[in-house]
């Protein structure tokens, strides 16, 4: 069974495009990255999966259930962390978490206390007085405390300091090892590259590529960095040229012998060739699809 499956999923807000013909497939037990810039349709997709908004057409199934018709059953099995977590202002952290647990008809006090300890979150603080990062922590605990089968996380690390980010991903890995599925929406490409098994790239409301992260990065291109060079060689297949101080780097797709021949005519001190990182891959698909 797929954890998430959409077919031809489309959403229009009046005449404005949300997402179009989205065919998404997330396997149970995997950590799946959902990449795209702001406005690409990531949150729209998530909001349909959670039943917050209604699709215009197409099909959306979560854990084998219809996202509209079996919404409550789905939400029992899902932990959701919104991009901007908001809570009832007068509540204390413990009360907000307890309210969330009671809405699920579960006693999650022990797990909540454990998670708060790991994330250094004070249960007695009022949520209205919390910083963005601490509010995010409350959202994380609310999404994790009932140990759901599927985690849907929208920009989960925004506002979190690096230490908490590390602890958060360690928690996600533990849950994934226990069999849970993680659907991670982000524009922080390095996290997708580091933690996800597969990823989908969203552009202007359309899923332009969905594959294993390893395969996505294996685009055939290499990042070439020349130290001490001022201009790239005149060669087809070169793109994304970046000048960083004395270093010049570019992505190259093409034959290696042609590159070596072109570099022979240039003056530079050193050269490194690396596989492109996920940011390069993202730009690759964006430029390719955009042109």
């Amino acid at each position: 069974m797929k954890a998430i499956e959409t077919k031809g999923l489309t959403k229009y807000y009046g005449r404005t495009r949300g997402i179009e013909e989205l065919d998404l497939s997330v396997e149970e037990g995997e950590i799946f990255g959902f990449i795209g810039p702001n406005g690409a349709g990531k949150s729209t997709t998530i909001r349909i999966l959670l039943g917050l908004i209604r699709k215009t057409r197409g099909e959306a199934r979560v854990l084998g259930m219809d996202a509209e018709k079996e919404k409550e059953a789905i939400l029992r099995e899902v932990g959701y962390l919104p991009a901007e977590a908001a809570f009832y202002a007068g509540m204390r952290v413990g009360e907000a978490l307890d309210f969330s647990a009671r809405l699920r008809k579960k006693d999650c006090r022990e797990e909540a206390r454990r998670l708060c300890e790991r994330l250094s979150l004070d249960l007695t603080r009022k949520v209205g007085e919390l910083s963005l990062g601490n509010r995010k922590k409350v959202g994380i605990v609310a999404a994790l405390q009932h140990k759901p089968r599927l985690y849907i996380l929208d920009e989960p690390t925004s506002g979190l300091d690096p230490l908490v980010q590390r602890e958060f991903f360690s928690l996600l890995r533990e849950r994934s090892e226990e069999g849970a599925t993680v659907f991670l929406s982000s524009h922080v490409l390095s996290e997708i590259g580091r933690y996800c098994r597969r990823a989908g790239i969203l552009r202007d409301g359309k899923l332009i590529r969905q594959d294993f992260v390893d395969k996505l990065t294996g685009t055939g291109a290499k990042r070439v960095t020349l130290h001490g060079a001022s201009a790239p060689p005149a060669l087809p297949g070169i793109r994304d040229v970046r000048q960083n101080g004395a270093s010049l780097s570019f992505l190259y797709s093409g034959r290696a012998d042609a590159l070596v021949a072109a570099l022979a005519g240039l003056s530079f001190d050193d050269i490194t060739l690396t596989d492109p990182d996920i940011e390069d891959v993202f730009l690759h698909y964006y430029e390719k699809e955009g042109s």
Binding site: Y13, S43, R47, L50, G51, L52, I53, R54, K71, E72, A73, L75, R76, V78, Y80, P82, E84, A85, A86, F87, Y88, A89, G90, F99, S100, R102, L103, R104, A142
Partner: protein, 262 residues
Amino acid sequence: MTLFFHEIRRDAAKLAVWTAVIAALLLVSIVIYPQMTAEMAEMGDLFSGMGGFSAAFNMDKINFGEFPGYFAVECGNVLGLGGAFFAALLGVAALAGEERDRTAEFLLTHPVSRASVVAQKLFAVLAKILILNLVVALVSVFGALAIGETVDAGLFSRIFLGYFLLQTQIACVLFGVSAFLSGGGLGLGLGTAFVLYFFNILANLTDDAAFLRYLTPFSYADGTVIVAAGGIEGKYLVPGLLFAAAGVGAAFFWYRRKDIRA
């Protein structure tokens, strides 16, 4: 019932303040009644000579010199208008407030159906209105007994039932409106309560505007009319209940289909 009790707890301070203010104002009105009785005969003459003004507030229909008449007028001023504003604020904020405060996303991603959210929020609004009216009624009865007046239980019940129904109607109609809003609505709520109050004054002033009585709950809930007629007028109450039912129906219909704003 988790959401129901959450709603009651969340608005406890607001409920306490509104209840205390309305009950205190009404109690003061009752306590000063004995000192005013001596002047009541003159005031009665004065009001009867004020023509349209007295008619606008139905003061021409009652005997101002007797406690029920006096109480009906004071109740209309304090509980009528104050209760209407309170009910309007509760009703219009019930569903829209979640989107305004951005808590809708938190609430609606829990395994609670939209219909259940609407039902629990509606019952919470009605419970808060009921609590306010019960406390105000109890304080009023104790106040009346304290100044040595006899309390006609039937008449008092009808007066307070009238105001409870008025507040329920306003709250239910605005609850329905709330389902269509994505934030705010405070001005709309207060404005609606005031316009409905004004409709009743207009209807009392001129027969050309008499049809407005079918639109405003102040027509059937006016304490002075209840004292004069002995009860709530069904011909105005029935449309009022239909408006309330339409508001609730609209809330259930629309909120279950609504796209929740991010």
